[in-house]
């Protein structure tokens, strides 16, 4: 079923990224996503980036036609959404390290708010960092990494994670970001015998576990994921290696 919701607030997170807050009383867990319809353009999966009893939000980076169209929406406009979908993060323990890379930061923010756990936010440069204020409000340790060193640690999220793990220990890592970041996060977790949960992404159509187009190996990102635990990830041969297009054709990353 689709729900019509009204945008009540828009927050400019970065030059190309906006958060849209809307009234929606659905029960949503950190790490779940919704399908957002942009009439005449597309329907796209978006992580829920903020959760309260009566409102939810999505955080949108303008990178394609649909997301650019979404950026034109104003307070008071209506959105048509489906969901929530997916499993979400397992946040049973709060001694965790949460990592968000780029716009993937949106997906982990509800986990930061719920747990107040130590957080790494990474981006290409300082102008691409998003949601720092929210993170700092809920977590006492918010560390920043930028590829160009324009803010915080000069390097990527995985390098900073390795630094932090030298003198701290966590039950597990929670992360969302570009697949290359997640892949090297997973590799580092293997080397360090560190548990992790990673939120994955694939081209998606139904969102409901029916059509099977968003599979990574035999796992549907929309229904079995988007969050996968380390033992599950160890069986995913396509993770970090290949994805599929709208036709279902395989495309290798390298």
């Amino acid at each position: 079923m689709s729900d019509i919701v009204i945008i009540k607030e828009i927050i400019q997170e970065a030059y190309d990224t906006k958060t849209f807050v809307f009234d929606w009383d659905a029960k949503v867990r950190p790490g779940q996503f919704i399908m957002v319809w942009i009439p005449g353009t597309d329907e796209i999966p978006m992580s829920v980036s903020g959760i309260s009893d009566s409102t939810k939000s999505i955080t949108v980076k303008a990178i394609g036609e649909a997301t650019r169209r979404l950026h034109e929406f104003k307070v008071g406009d209506r959105l048509s959404i489906r969901g929530p979908f997916g499993n979400g993060f397992d946040l049973a323990d709060d001694n965790i390290l949460i990592i968000g890379g780029g716009v993937g930061t949106a997906a982990i923010m509800p986990a930061v708010v719920q747990t107040g756990a130590d957080t790494i936010i990474a981006a290409r440069s300082d102008k691409d960092l998003i949601m720092l204020d929210t993170a700092r409000k809920h977590s006492k340790n918010v560390w920043i990494a930028t590829d160009d060193g324009s803010a915080g640690f000069h390097g990527n999220a995985v390098q900073l994670m390795k630094e932090k793990l030298k003198d701290r220990s966590y039950r597990y890592i929670v992360a969302c970001g570009p697949e290359v970041m997640l892949y090297f996060t997973y590799k580092a977790c293997q080397e360090l015998d560190q548990d992790c949960q990673l939120s994955m992404e694939r081209y998606m159509k139904c969102g409901a576990g029916v059509c099977g187009c968003c599979v990574m190996d035999d796992m549907r990102i929309c229904k079995d994921g988007p969050v996968f635990k380390k033992d599950q990830i160890s069986k995913l041969k396509e993770f970090g290696v290949s994805n599929r297009d709208a036709c279902g054709r395989v495309h290798n990353f390298r």
Binding site: I4, K205, V210, C211, V215, A246, C247, R249
Partner: protein, 301 residues
């Protein structure tokens, strides 16, 4: 314990339920997962000659009583699909669903599916939302006859025809399948449908038209199988809104010797196959049906 084994013509199945075409069946590993979850066989996504991205999103949504979809036959094309078949075929019975614009397309595709090791082909003569394909070729008995004949003379594996309920001449189309030598009829595909957003004053699906599946279509499907059972002698496979053993039993008693499950994979998960198998078996024990075949068409007597 009653036996759940059945057969569709020459194809013997340990369990009577299969995954319906279009559901978790675009990749080899997905097909294997479905086989391992208790399905007796799997039907692939409908595959065409060329790669097809399908219709733009939105192409799916939940509605009261089921789902609508206008996927638009997305598939990687018959050449690339060989790689998926290589993964799935060694793990169980795979029925290759194919779609085309006419007899020649269907024959080429069926030959490939046979080469890939499909145990049967299912001709998609029923998709309600793809221009020039599906029900647009599947509601004309003469066209159906020529497609089935052409495929029959091209391959030696059984040829199943999946028919649409969006017609008032279903039994004539069924008879055309039988006359052309078709080995089984699969019914039904989705009901042609539309969903409009009042707020945006437009159809929600990018394709405007879509197909309805799930609980709401089951009585239509059961009626279709009942009608076909009265009109043809070839085996029938029931599909449409099956999510529990009672639904499966209805289709079997209407005349189906096997069934397919689609939308319920979304609502109940792949566990649905095991649940249906257990429920059906318990029902058969209690009511004294020793085999699926002893139940087939029971509602006609």
């Amino acid at each position: 314990m009653a036996s759940l084994s059945t057969s569709v013509g020459s194809i013997a199945l340990d369990r009577p339920g299969m995954i319906a075409s279009g559901i978790m069946d675009e990749t080899g590993k997905s097909l294997v997962r479905v086989l391992e979850s208790g399905a007796g066989a799997v039907v692939t996504k409908s595959i065409g000659l060329m790669p097809n991205p399908g219709h733009d999103n939105p192409c799916f949504m939940e509605v009261r009583g089921g789902y609508v979809n206008a996927m638009g036959l997305p598939n990687p094309g018959i050449e690339e699909f060989g790689e998926e078949m290589k993964v799935a075929v060694p793990k169980g019975k795979v029925i290759g669903s194919i779609y085309g614009a006419g007899p020649e397309d269907f024959s080429k595709l069926a030959i490939k599916m046979e080469e890939y090791g499909a145990c049967a082909v299912e001709l998609n003569l029923s998709c309600p939302h793809a221009k020039g394909y599906g029900m647009e070729v599947g509601t004309d008995p003469d066209m159906v006859k020529s497609i089935v004949s052409a495929v029959k003379s091209s391959v030696s594996i059984p040829v199943w025809a999946k028919l649409t309920p969006n017609t008032h001449i279903l039994t004539k189309i069924g008879a055309a399948v039988q006359d052309a030598g078709g080995d089984a009829i699969v019914a039904i595909n989705t009901l042609k449908a539309m969903v409009i957003s009042p707020e945006f004053a437009r159809p929600i699906m990018s394709n405007k038209f879509c197909g309805l599946s799930g609980d709401a279509v089951k009585p239509v499907g059961v009626r279709a199988i009942y009608d076909l059972k009265s009109a043809v002698d070839i085996p029938l496979i029931g599909v449409g809104g099956i999510s529990c053993w009672r639904d499966a039993a209805e289709y079997i008693m209407a005349g189906a010797c096997a069934f397919q499950v689609g939308s319920a994979v979304g609502t109940k998960g792949l566990e649905v196959f095991g649940q249906i198998n257990d429920g059906l078996s318990a029902f058969m024990d209690e009511y004294g049906y020793g085999s699926i075949s002893s139940m087939v068409g029971a509602a006609h007597e």
